[in-house]
Amino acid sequence: MASNDMTSNETAKHGPGGAGTGAHGAGPDIDQETLLQHEKDTLTHTPVHLMELEAVGKHYGNIIALTEVTMAVDMGRVTCVLGDNGAGKSTLIKIIAGLHQHDEGTFKIMGEERRLGSPREALDAGIAAVYQDLAVVGLMPIWRNFFLGSEITIGRGPFRRLDVKRMKEVTKSELAQMGIDLRDVEQPVGQLSGGERQCVAIARAVHFGAKALILDEPTAALGVKQSGVVLRYILQARDRGLGVIFITHNPHHAYPVGDRFLLLKRGKSIGYYDKKDITLEELTAQMAGGAELAELAHELEAMGGHGELVDQVQAEVAETTGQTPR
């Protein structure tokens, strides 16, 4: 498989310093090592990142959607991208996934500068994306979705046909391995719950040897419990050695699973932290902009707004700034 070639390449590039760092993704026995590596690595000390963006920018016509964004993704690590609506999160991952191309800065994969022309190119480079709005084809059965674009075939020439039986078996067992217990792989994906759908897309990316997995707000439309399920799959993907980019606007989802956090606001990076350098409270405060929230509380009060709402905002101000409400 192509992914194995890439993996060994990566080992070579790591050189003496990164002893054995590359051999991940081959099986569950690597987990320990991955976790150990965690402790040692810092933002700057990894010799070659799985992916690296430097001062990347993108504009749509005269709309500047992204400027000066720098971040890195490594194997067995979760990089979280946080930001409000319109911050440029989707734009960022569309560049990485080959749907759009950047106009400024450099984008390196395994230390090599790249510009991905199509999702196919990204997939060939081991980057798989699960989009918030386009994950799966609802009317098609689960197994057809699972293998869409990478179908298993038997036979040659004009008699090349789908290996339906094998595809169904693999779908069932891969999903079971991810801990996803599905009723029937013939079921149309549209009948699954939002969380299950995300999980099918994640399991698919993992199965096809993705080395990098991008998740665009997978928890945005989900309830608390379902969000928890998806977060668990993110950790599972990480433990299988994948580099994960997790996009969300919820710091409470990002903090428990993330190793690094990139904060975006109006297309600009307003912070890039290693987990050890930031607490959940700080992250939340950065995200919400504590001062802005306080201002909002005042405004609402001045408008003689609903008491309950004001209380709520004040409580949030308190939470984000660590002060007690008056």
Partner: protein
């Protein structure tokens, strides 16, 4: 990645055992099948001639002239697009073959070959413009429909000097081409025309293509959600262009039949037929929004068309009733599809 842990071959308790009947009811073409059976019984009662083998062969023939096109159109609709130029494109193909062979006095097979190139090109152009401009296919193919209608009339008059093409019956290769595209096979005393066989073969091949090949998977995907398909690496552009070219190919087959069933073509024909093809596909269970349907469904839709068309004649009614019947069948079959699909999904 390499070791696959086999789960127990469990039948999940949450999946109620689906019976054969339930599985059948889940198929896209179920509404059409029910409609076809009802219509068949109905005409068998009101017009007993209907049951004779020869009449049935005539019904099949009538069905095939719609069905051949419905195959391509059904696939295209599953792929999420329309082709309003399909009706006149059939005539464009026939005109190309006959006018070229006549004007240059070549063997008609050369004209037939050129017609294939022209038909595939029309399909390609439709698909290419669609993918380039991202306009709805309704608009793009409406434009090509109008252009082809005009070209058919203008070029035929310019080259042949009349609204119909000159006869090519005496030209080299006519007999052999006729033997392929418009032959009569007498089987057990029943006269079955070649389009019927071509139709059946086309349906068999496309059903296989749709359900058992990668391309088939892609067709469902580009119709169901083109963005999702593109994101997982499906060549959306080429799949859609290929589907339009498929319609072109079917148009060529039917165009050649139209030409060789006689020896000349009327340049003004074909207008309005595109709706018959779309109707056949929709009766057969293809969703207007794409991503769902079957090749068999389109075939059953065409068969319903054939039965209604000829059945009315056998029942000795006024053919004026035909369009009414067609409309009624369209309504009933799509309603049955809807109900059955809802019930099957909720189980």
């Amino acid at each position: 990645m390499t070791t696959l842990i086999k789960p127990p071959p469990a039948l999940d308790e949450r999946v109620g055992r689906r019976s054969m009947v339930a599985n059948l009811l889940g198929r896209p073409e179920i509404g059409a099948l029910v409609g076809a059976i009802v219509l068949f019984i109905f005409f068998s009662i009101v017009a007993p001639v209907f049951l004779q083998a020869n009449s049935f062969a005539t019904v099949l023939y009538g069905s095939s002239t719609i069905g051949i096109m419905a195959v391509g159109v059904a696939l295209l609709m599953i792929g999420g697009e329309f082709d309003l130029s399909a009706g006149v494109a059939v005539i464009s193909s026939a005109l190309t073959a006959s006018l070229f062979s006549w004007y240059f006095s070549t063997n008609v097979w050369i004209g037939v070959g050129l017609a294939l190139v022209v038909s595939l090109t029309i399909g390609f152009v439709n698909g290419w413009i669609l993918m380039k401009t991202k306009l709805p296919s309704f608009i793009v193919t409406l434009a090509t429909f109008l252009m082809l209608t005009g070209l058919n009339l203008a070029l035929t008059r310019l080259i042949g000097g009349s609204v119909a093409t000159p006869s090519i019956a005496t030209m080299d290769g006519f007999a052999s081409a006729q033997a392929v595209f418009s032959n009569d096979f007498i089987i057990a005393g029943v006269d079955i025309k070649s389009p019927v066989f071509i139709w059946i073969i086309l349906v068999a091949i496309t059903s296989w293509l749709l359900l058992r090949t990668r391309v088939g998977n892609w067709i469902f995907a580009v119709g169901g959600d083109a963005n999702a398909a593109r994101a997982v690496g499906v060549p959306v552009r080429w799949t859609k262009i290929g589907l339009f070219m498929g319609v072109g190919f079917c148009g060529w087959v039917l165009g050649m039949h139209n030409l060789f069933a006689f020896d000349a073509v009327q340049s003004g024909e074909g207008i309005g037929n595109e709706f018959l093809y779309i109707i056949a596909a929709v009766i057969g269970g293809c969703l207007l929004t794409g991503g769902y349907g079957s090749a068999i469904g389109g075939a059953i839709g065409a068969f319903i068309f054939g039965m209604a068309n000829k059945g009315i004649v056998y029942a000795q009614w006024n053919p004026d009733w035909f369009k009414f019947f067609l409309g009624l069948m369209l309504l009933l079959a799509t309603i049955v599809n809807l109900i059955v699909k809802r019930r099957a999904d909720s189980k």
